[in-house]
């Protein structure tokens, strides 16, 4: 039995290695997907940091508010005059936030009357939010300073004004902030496991039917379980390999590029790589087995490809569901295939500890389901409608 499984496995691997589609998949995964996405993300994130670091505000009508200008200058903030069409520019995303000072600001301010400024922004753009928050904080600080001085001038303790003092403590480590944006790595890792075994899984099942090689193959004195196991191992190996290559691309890109640009945000080195593989290899066993099971129903490569694309769509939806449902993390997540892996991958990236439960339950579940799917394939290969069905 084991010798037959090995024979089938080696034949499928050799066949796949000579298949251009496999080579293309590995190439696309390693060269294009990983590094390219990472570089783009790094550009985006470092752009955010730059905007937040440069202390600069844009003002319209700064000449009406000498006190505010004085405050900002003392705070070492660069003031830039906003162009007259600032409203359109903000709408178009070319300006982040503009402080608009009305003409009567100075008179009212001197008279201690209620004074207003407008802060114009578009908060539907994530990349603007650091600049918006900065402007808000600066205006706040100006407010506090003014109130403080006025109370002091009237002989009132300024602390009366502050019943509750809020001190901000952000618990996110820099690494976690990077991971929030880099949700994309777990998603790519999972998709690599899904797509990596596809070619082999389809070729070894629907491909055999299409070529007319399934019937003579099954005439050999070998159990269908041995065939199903050998073919599954080949598809699994392919999926695991593509996942490994994709992630190696991430490691390399993080090493060469992102580490220099965002040292604090992204840590995806060799230890993370090893943990990722430990999560993804069992997942690849499941996705390869499911793809084989689905493809066995396909009479041609193309037909099976269509069925399998439904599976990859379902898998691709899991991270989206997690993102939008906003559900709390819990132990139940480990029991849902793909979701369990996603949660584990996110924890690894955030630098959180991964408990044995979080690591082992999804892996054991994936392997058990994979074996069930392989057994189902073996049963289907004994079905006359599958083996001889042409219509």
């Amino acid at each position: 039995m084991i010798a037959r499984v090995l024979t089938v496995f080696l034949k499928e691997v050799r066949d796949a290695l000579r298949d251009r589609r496999t080579a293309l998949m590995v190439l696309a995964a390693s060269v294009i997907a990983g590094p390219l996405i990472l570089v783009l993300m790094a550009q985006f994130v470092s752009g955010l940091e730059e905007r937040a670091l440069t202390r600069k505000v844009r003002m319209a009508g700064a000449e009406h508010a000498p006190a505010l200008v004085n405050f900002l200058q003392r705070a070492d903030v660069e003031i830039e005059k906003a162009p007259p069409d600032y409203a359109e520019r903000v709408k178009a995303g070319r300006l982040d936030a503009v402080i608009v000072v009305p003409g009567d600001f100075h008179e009212r301010w001197l008279a201690h009357e209620e004074t207003r400024v407008e802060l114009v922004y578009d908060d539907s753009r994530t990349e603007s939010s650091p600049a918006i928050r900065q402007s808000e904080r600066l205006l706040d600080a100006f407010n506090r300073e003014t109130a403080f001085l006025r109370l002091l001038a009237r002989g009132v303790s300024p602390s009366l004004n502050k019943t509750v003092k809020v001190e901000r403590v952000n618990t996110a480590t820099p690494r976690q902030r990077g991971a929030a944006i880099l949700m994309i790595i777990p998603m790519f890792a999972i998709m690599a496991a899904v797509l990596g075994g596809m070619t082999v899984a389809i070729d070894a099942t629907a491909g055999e039917r299409e070529r007319g090689s399934l019937e003579p193959l099954l005439a050999n004195p070998v159990s269908t379980l041995a065939f199903a196991l050998g073919k599954w191992l080949a598809a699994w190996a392919s999926a695991a390999l593509v996942a490994a290559v994709t992630l190696a691309g991430f490691v390399l890109a993080a090493e060469l590029y992102a580490e220099r640009k965002l040292p604090s945000l992204l840590q995806f080195g060799v230890p993370e790589y090893a943990r990722y593989l430990a999560v993804l290899v069992p997942l690849a066993a499941l996705t390869a087995a499911l793809e084989m099971l689905i493809s066995t129903y396909g009479r041609s490569y193309r037909e099976a490809q269509t069925y399998v694309s439904y599976l990859s769509t379902v898998v691709a939806f899991v991270p989206l569901v997690v993102m939008f449902s906003g559900g709390k993390e819990g132990a139940w997540q480990a029991w849902v295939p793909v979701l369990g892996q996603l949660v584990a991958l996110q924890r690894i990236l955030r630098g959180d500890g991964l408990s044995a439960f979080d690591a082992l339950v999804p892996a054991a579940l994936a392997l058990a389901l994979a074996l069930a799917a392989v057994a189902a394939v073996a049963r289907l290969l004994r079905d006359e409608r599958i083996v001889f069905g042409r219509s």
Binding site: A3, R211, E215, P216, A219, P221, V222, V387
Partner: protein
Amino acid sequence: MIAAEGLGKRFGDVEAVRQVSFVAGDGRVTGLLGPNGAGKTTTLRMISTLLVPSAGTVRVDGIDAAREPLAVRARIGALSDARGLYARLTARENIAYYGELRGMARQGIEESTARLAGLLELGPLLDRRTDGFSQGERMKVAIARALVHDPPNVILDEPTNGLDVMTTRSLREAVRRLREAGKCVLFSSHVMQEVAALCDEIVIVSRGTVTATGTPEAIRAAAGCEDLEDAFVRLTGAATHEP
């Protein structure tokens, strides 16, 4: 030796094969002759254990196919209706894969491949990928693959279909040599001349059942015709409207 006893097969409401019985002996070539759709392929699939009969039994060298399908498969080499090869593997690798699946050692596979290459005139093709092979070349590789374990029973389903004259001749020669080697050769055809040229025993199948069995002479006598082709036409019922 292959013995079919009262074989029947239903696909839903369609009875593709019913009450098919015959014996194909060792050292003989037995031809399953009948028009397209007569049930020849279904019968051969039941013998090679790929289809489970709805009725009847198959015995190969005395082994019941329903009870020990793997043992029966080990004693059969079958060229099936579907004869796809792996296009990215060479002819030699295609043949070796089946040898390994049958548990042969590397040396045995090499010797067997060399012997079959001689029998089927495959020599120059062996180390080329089968992608781009002609139909005749693919057929030869498919036969070599089926016979790599030197089985005592050989089943060939319409082996000459779509082959040119030269390939057909070399195939006939190969079948004769298998008979000389004492094999039980069972092959199907819808071409009367094919069967007449090769067979020691003819089983005529029509509409899923056996209408006549015997040597070519016996068949001619049974039909009351001098010409084998006339006998075939009469016995398959294809010309019942004629006087």
